[in-house]
Amino acid sequence: MMEKTKSDMSTSNGSKHRSPRASIFDVWDAILLVFVFGYLAACPYSKVEESFNLQAMHDMLFYGSDLPSVRFLPPIAPFDGLVFLFCFFTQCSIMMILTPSHLCIHLCPEIVRFFLSPLVMPF
C-alpha cells in the first residue's frame, strides 16, 4: 500500500506539475496574515493563560543574557525555553539588520543589550 502511494507520487511529480511560482509566502498567506494582525490590533493585551510565556518573552527581550540572574517568577507553571529562543532570535535578527540611527537616549541600554546578548548566550 505504502509502496503504491510512493510510486504514485513519483509519477505525478515526475511529470513536473509543480508550479514555478511556489514560494514560501504568497498573496493568500498575506491575506490570512492581515486578518491575524487585525485581531492582534483589536486585542493587543493578554489574559492569564498566555501571560506566563509573555512575561518570559518580555524578560528575554529586556534582560537578555543575564536572564538566569534576574528571574524571580514563582515556578507555578514552567514555560518553555524554546518560546524564549524563538522570540529572542527573531527580535535579535530584526534589531541587527535594522539598526536605527536616531534613538532617544534611554533606549540605548536596551539596544546595547540586544547586540551583546547573542555573544554571551551559550547557544
Binding site: K6, Y39, P78, F86, H102, L103
Partner: protein
C-alpha cells in the same frame, strides 16, 4: 520577515519614543512574529495538500482555503497569543505538510517534538496517527525507532534549555503533565459534558464552513481511506474523555477540517453549473461567519479591563508630573490584560504582591476589583463629588473601568446588545493627594 517589519520600525524609530511606547511596540513585534510563523506554516500546509489532492498548486483551492480560514475567529485570534498551543499548532501544521509530502518519518519526528516540548496532550493525537500509519502499512520498527529517537532528542533539548533558564533541573511539560494527570487538578477549572467538542466546540471554531465538509468527503471519497480525518476524529473522541474542555485544546484538527471545507468549496466550484445554489449558500455562510468574527473581536477588545485601567492610570501620571505613583495591582487586574510590556511609565512603580495586607503605608494607588463599602464610584462626569471610600476612609475611588459582562439580544437594530459593567476600580490614598 524583516521586510515586513522594516517600514513600521523605521517610522517608529524616528519618533521620540518614550519607554512606554517602545515596550508596547515590542509587544506587537513579539506577537506579530508569532502570527507570521502561523501564516507561514499554514501556507506551507496549504501548498502541500494542494499538491497532494490536485498534484499542482491550485489557485482556486488557495482562494477557497483562504476564504474558509479568514471567515473564522478562534484560530486567527489565538495565532498571535503566546500559548504553548499556538506554538504546537504551527508545528502540527509542519507535520501535516510532511504528511501530504508523504514524508511520514519527518511527520512523526515533528509531532513527537511538539508533544515533548509544548503540549503533552498531543500524545493523544500521536497515538491514533501512529496506528493509522501502521494501518497504511508503514513498517513498524523504523517508525517506532524514529519516534523514540526524536523523543529522546527533544527531551534532551528541552531539559538542557529550560534547566539553564531556571537554574535547576526541570522538565516543564512533564511538571504540567504531572499537575494535570497525577494530581488531576485540571477539573478545578470547570467541566463540560462528553459531547461538548463535537456538539459545540468544533461548530464554534469552524463556523459557517462546517456544512462544506460533507461535500468534500463525498467528492474525495476515493482518498477517504487515507484521510487524516480518521486520526483527527479519534483525537477528539479520546480527548473528550477529559472533563475539562477548552477550544484551544483541539486547535490541531481545525486545519484539517478547514482543508476539507476548502476542498468541498473547490469541488463545488468545478461543478458550478449544477451546484451554484450551494455555492451561493456557502458564500453567504462564510460572510455571516466573517461578520460574527468581527463582532467577537469587538467584544474581546472590551474584555481587558486590567490593561484599560493601567492605561487610565498612565494618563493620570502624565498629568501629575511631580509625584511618583506606587501602584498595587491585584490578581483580577493582572489577569485581565496587564503584562510587563505595559509596566514602563517612568513615574509609576508597579507592585503585584499577592495577599498584601499593608496597603496604607506602601502604596499611593490601587487597581482592584474590590468594591468600596458604599457601592461603585460615580461616573466620569461627577467624579469631583465622589465620596466612595475603601478600607477605613483612606482610599478614594478615582476611576471605574467597565468591562464586558455578557450579551443580550434585542428586538431593534443591531439586535445584539453588549452589556458592560464595572470590573475594576482605581483608588487613590487620600493623604497621598497633598504630598
Amino acid at each position: 520577515m524583516t521586510l515586513l517589519v522594516k517600514p513600521i520600525w523605521s517610522v517608529v524609530s524616528h519618533l521620540e519614543l518614550p519607554a512606554l511606547t517602545f515596550k508596547l511596540f515590542s509587544l506587537f513585534l513579539v506577537r506579530g512574529c508569532l502570527g507570521l510563523l502561523y501564516a507561514l506554516s499554514s501556507g506551507l500546509f496549504r501548498r502541500s495538500f494542494s499538491q497532494y489532492y490536485f498534484s499542482k498548486l491550485d489557485p482556486g483551492l488557495a482562494a477557497c482555503w483562504t476564504a474558509v480560514c479568514v471567515s473564522q475567529f478562534h484560530l486567527n485570534f489565538y495565532a498571535t497569543r503566546s500559548l504553548p498551543n499556538t506554538f504546537a499548532v504551527c508545528l502540527v501544521l509542519f507535520a501535516y505538510h510532511f504528511w501530504f509530502r508523504r514524508k511520514y518519518y519527518s511527520c512523526i519526528s515533528v509531532l513527537v517534538f511538539a508533544t515533548v516540548v509544548f503540549r503533552s496532550e498531543l500524545l493523544v493525537f500521536l497515538a491514533p496517527l501512529g496506528l493509522f500509519l501502521l494501518f497504511l502499512r508503514l513498517p513498524l520498527l523504523p517508525s517506532l525507532l524514529t519516534g523514540a529517537l526524536s523523543g529522546i532528542a527533544s527531551l534532551l533539548f528541552t531539559i538542557t534549555l529550560d534547566s539553564y533558564f531556571w537554574q535547576r533541573w526541570i522538565y516543564p511539560e512533564g511538571e504540567l503533565l504531572y499537575f494535570n494527570t497525577v494530581l488531576n487538578k485540571s477539573h478545578e477549572w470547570g467541566t463540560l459534558p462528553y459531547h461538548w467538542y463535537f456538539a459545540t466546540g468544533i461548530p464554534k471554531a469552524i463556523m459557517g464552513a462546517i456544512f462544506l465538509i460533507p461535500f468534500a468527503v463525498y467528492y474525495e471519497r476515493h482518498t477517504l481511506k487515507q484521510s487524516l480525518l480518521w486520526p483527527a476524529g479519534a483525537f477528539v473522541a479520546l480527548y473528550s474523555l477529559l472533563p475539562h474542555k477548552e477550544l484551544r485544546f483541539i486547535f490541531y484538527i481545525i486545519p484539517i477540517l478547514n482543508m476539507y471545507a476548502a476542498l468541498g468549496l473547490r469541488h463545488l466550484w468545478t461543478r458550478r453549473r449544477r451546484m451554484w445554489p450551494v455555492i451561493l449558500l456557502a458564500t453567504l455562510a462564510l460572510l455571516a461567519s466573517l461578520t460574527a468574527s468581527v463582532g467577537l473581536a469587538y467584544i474581546s477588545s472590551k474584555n481587558y479591563p486590567g490593561a484599560a485601567a493601567l492605561n487610565r492610570l498612565h494618563e493620570r501620571a502624565d498629568k501629575e508630573t511631580k509625584t511618583t505613583m506606587k501602584v498595587h495591582l491585584d490578581v483580577a487586574a493582572c489577569q485581565t490584560g496587564i503584562s510587563r510590556f505595559l509596566e514602563a511609565h517612568p513615574r509609576v512603580q508597579y507592585f503585584k504582591t499577592e495577599n498584601e495586607t499593608d496597603f496604607d503605608t506602601k502604596y499611593t494607588h490601587r487597581i482592584t476589583e474590590k468594591e468600596a463599602a458604599f457601592g461603585p464610584p460615580e461616573t466620569m462626569q461627577n467624579k469631583a463629588r465622589t465620596k466612595t471610600l475603601l478600607d477605613g476612609q483612606r482610599w478614594q475611588a478615582i476611576d471605574t473601568i467597565y468591562g464586558f459582562k455578557g450579551i443580550a439580544f434585542t428586538k431593534h437594530y443591531p439586535f445584539v446588545q453588549i452589556n458592560m459593567g464595572p470590573s475594576l476600580y482605581i483608588y487613590q490614598r487620600v493623604d497621598s493627594r497633598d504630598v
